[in-house]
């Protein structure tokens, strides 16, 4: 029996294409197999990201959440506090009736009925079906109407040229920005925000983040144990950020 080792023209073409396509596709297949699962999935409304803040646990003088946010999103400033961006800030507040002083972190409240998205002419301000309110940095024209509309002053306008942005948080001069619940982390399968992580590291555990539809998530547990309130409930914005002990 003789083995025909002669390669026909058709055989050569077929084998070459098979080899090339294998070389071409395999790296892609391997990369996507290695990537975190959520990136391959579309965002859906089964997930409901939310945050609960226990004001009594928030420590005076502690800025761990603010520092972590600055680091995570590359929010370095120009030492011009009136124009520098702030995605999360600490407020000192006093109870009008009892004079009791508390500190409270203030950030985008991720409303279910967000006024910023309502007024945005291009739809650059948008709310994902999982509840994250964020700005599309490619279609924001910098009109600042959303800043006029936000009842919590949660948004900042980038007032000057930026050069050292982090790749995980695209930012640019002339656009509006705000807290996006560390969307880059979430989409890479890390279900915690930088501020929550920092607050836990400090041992305060004032911030609880997670998926409302998961009864075991930290936020669901926090909501079960303490009564939470929305700020400016009279506006019926249905914020996903709620506060307890306030």
């Amino acid at each position: 029996m003789t083995i025909d080792t002669k390669l026909s023209r058709r055989g050569f073409i077929v084998k070459s294409i098979s080899l090339l396509s294998t070389v071409y596709f395999i790296p892609d297949i391997i990369t996507s197999a290695q990537a975190a699962k959520p990136l391959n999935e579309e965002v859906n409304s089964d997930t409901k990201w939310a945050m609960s803040i226990d004001v009594d646990k928030c420590a005076k003088g502690c800025t761990a959440c603010v520092d972590a946010c600055v680091e995570e999103n590359g929010l370095y400033g120009f030492d011009r506090p009136e124009t520098d961006s702030q995605w999360i800030r600490k407020l000192t507040i006093k109870d009008i009736k009892t004079d009791k002083v508390k500190v409270v972190p203030m950030l985008c409240q991720h409303c279910e009925n967000p006024p910023c998205c309502d007024v945005c002419p291009t739809g650059a301000s948008f709310r994902r079906v999982d509840g994250i309110v964020m700005v599309n940095q490619h279609t924001c024209i910098g009109c600042r109407y959303c800043m006029m509309a936000c009842p919590f002053k949660a948004r900042s306008f980038v007032h000057e040229n930026l050069t050292e942005q982090v790749t995980t948080a695209p930012r640019g001069k002339g656009c509006v920005e705000s807290c996006n619940f560390c969307v880059n982390r979430i989409d890479h399968g890390i279900p915690t925000t930088a501020c929550e992580e920092a607050c836990m590291k400090e041992g305060h555990k004032a911030i609880s983040f997670g998926d409302l539809s998961d009864p075991n998530s930290r936020v669901s547990q926090a909501l079960k144990t303490k009564q939470n309130r929305r700020l400016r409930a009279d506006l019926s914005l249905k914020q996903r950020v709620t506060y307890s002990n306030i």
Binding site: E82, T83, I93, I141, N161
Partner: protein, 404 residues
């Protein structure tokens, strides 16, 4: 027998070019200012994360409001069929177009990303009154162009009435849209009330009428156009009427706010203890802008032109300060984020009355916008037959006829 014909602006060539280059220079300065703001970023302006809309918006909103109101003269002619005003209608429409374009130019050049204008023109969120306004403003410019065409071209003259009625309806909706930019903002105590829409309409009628008078007077300085005593007296009556209506809606707006208990603190701020904002309201918007002009017009029994001119100038100063109060003071008052708590400390100025000091760049952009509107008018009247002129003798009529 008197006959009215429309003529181009008869002005010495030297004077025209002096005006053209003078206005062109201011426009260039305005553009350079906006370019500097765009390349450096808005930190070079007086605007910040607290006062997000500043002097450019005062200029822009005022010009757009005037654009709507200045069409009043044409509307009286076309919609209400008053023959007396017919000769004045084309100029009225030209002014509307000029002020609209310049107001929009300022708005666009103040954007954080003016280079993304194409995004604003192609990507819409129809829940936003801003997106509606993009259609309302560009649509108004188109309608005005058609309206002017129907008035100036005899062949299509029969369509001028329907075009005028359409333009009138459109501009009422347009000014409602401009007022609603503020009226739909629920978060700020100064805004969030539907009364702002009719207030803006009545402001537009007042400011538009006096601006029309001022521009015609300026043109008359160089060339005698049709501006009879009857029209002058009618403009005076209209100004008086609009002053009263303005005062009424302003009172209504503040009384409404006083009744809304959560707006009470803001009302105290504007009416009593807001410092520069309270002064701007009482001295600027109320006394200079409304009371003094009313007093001057009432007091002058001779009903002279000079009293109308004084009232006009005061109304214009008042209009600027009215916009300052609406736009700046509305933002200066801090947001009320907590119902039972008072904010003691914040790194983001949450607990203070915000201050706003505009920079030269913003002023340059605003004045550049005003110059743009004037140069459009100048080019328009110098090249097209906008100006009505009374021809008394047949000889003169013949002479002018051969000119045109």
């Amino acid at each position: 027998m008197e006959k009215i014909i429309f003529k181009k602006f008869q002005i010495e060539s030297k004077t025209f070019w002096m005006m053209f280059f003078g206005l062109g220079f201011v426009i260039l300065i305005g553009y350079l200012c906006s370019h500097y703001m765009e390349t450096e970023g808005h930190y070079v302006t007086g605007m910040n994360n607290q006062i997000v809309w500043g002097l450019p918006h005062i200029f822009a909103v005022l010009l757009i409001v005037i654009a709507s109101g200045v069409l009043n003269i044409a509307s009286i002619s076309s919609v209400f069929d008053k023959k007396l005003y017919k000769p004045l209608a084309p100029l009225s429409a030209l002014l509307a177009m000029a002020f609209l374009i310049s107001g929009l130019a300022i708005l666009v050049l103040d954007l954080g990303r003016p280079d993304r204008l194409i995004v604003a023109m192609t990507t819409y969120n129809f829940k936003s009154i801003f997106a509606w306004n993009i259609f309302l403003y560009s649509g108004f410019a188109g309608i005005l162009a058609i309206y002017i065409w129907t008035m100036l071209d005899r062949n299509v003259n029969k369509f001028s009435r329907p075009a005028g009625i359409f333009a009138f309806t459109w501009r009422i909706v347009l000014t409602t849209g401009t007022g609603s930019i503020f009226g739909f903002l629920i978060s700020r105590e100064a805004y969030g009330t539907a009364i702002l829409a009719p207030l803006f309409i009545i402001m537009s009628l007042l400011y538009g009428t006096v601006v029309y008078f001022l521009i015609v007077k300026a043109i008359n300085y160089f060339q005698k156009t049709l501006f009879s005593e009857e029209i002058l007296q009618n403009l005076r009556k209209l100004t008086l009427l609009f002053l009263f209506a303005n005062l009424y809606f302003l009172i209504l707006y503040h009384v409404t706010n006083l009744y809304i208990s959560k707006h009470l603190e803001f009302e105290k701020f504007i009416l009593l203890n807001g410092g520069v904002y309270t002064i701007a309201f009482w001295v600027g918007q109320v006394v200079i802008g409304l009371i003094l002009p009313l007093y001057i017009l009432f007091r002058d029994e001779n009903k002279s032109e000079s009293s109308l001119m004084s009232a006009t100038l005061l109304i214009l100063v008042g209009s600027f300060l009215a916009m300052y109060v609406i736009i700046i003071a509305g933002q200066a008052y801090p947001l009320k984020m907590f119902t039972n708590y008072e904010i003691l400390e914040s790194s983001f100025y949450d607990n203070v009355i915000h201050t706003y000091i505009p920079t030269i760049w913003e002023l340059g952009l605003g004045l550049g916008g005003v110059a743009l509107s004037l140069i459009i008018v100048l080019i328009g009247i110098a090249n097209l037959d906008f100006l009505p002129t009374v021809i008394k003798s047949p000889e003169a009529k013949k002479a002018v006829g051969s000119d045109s």
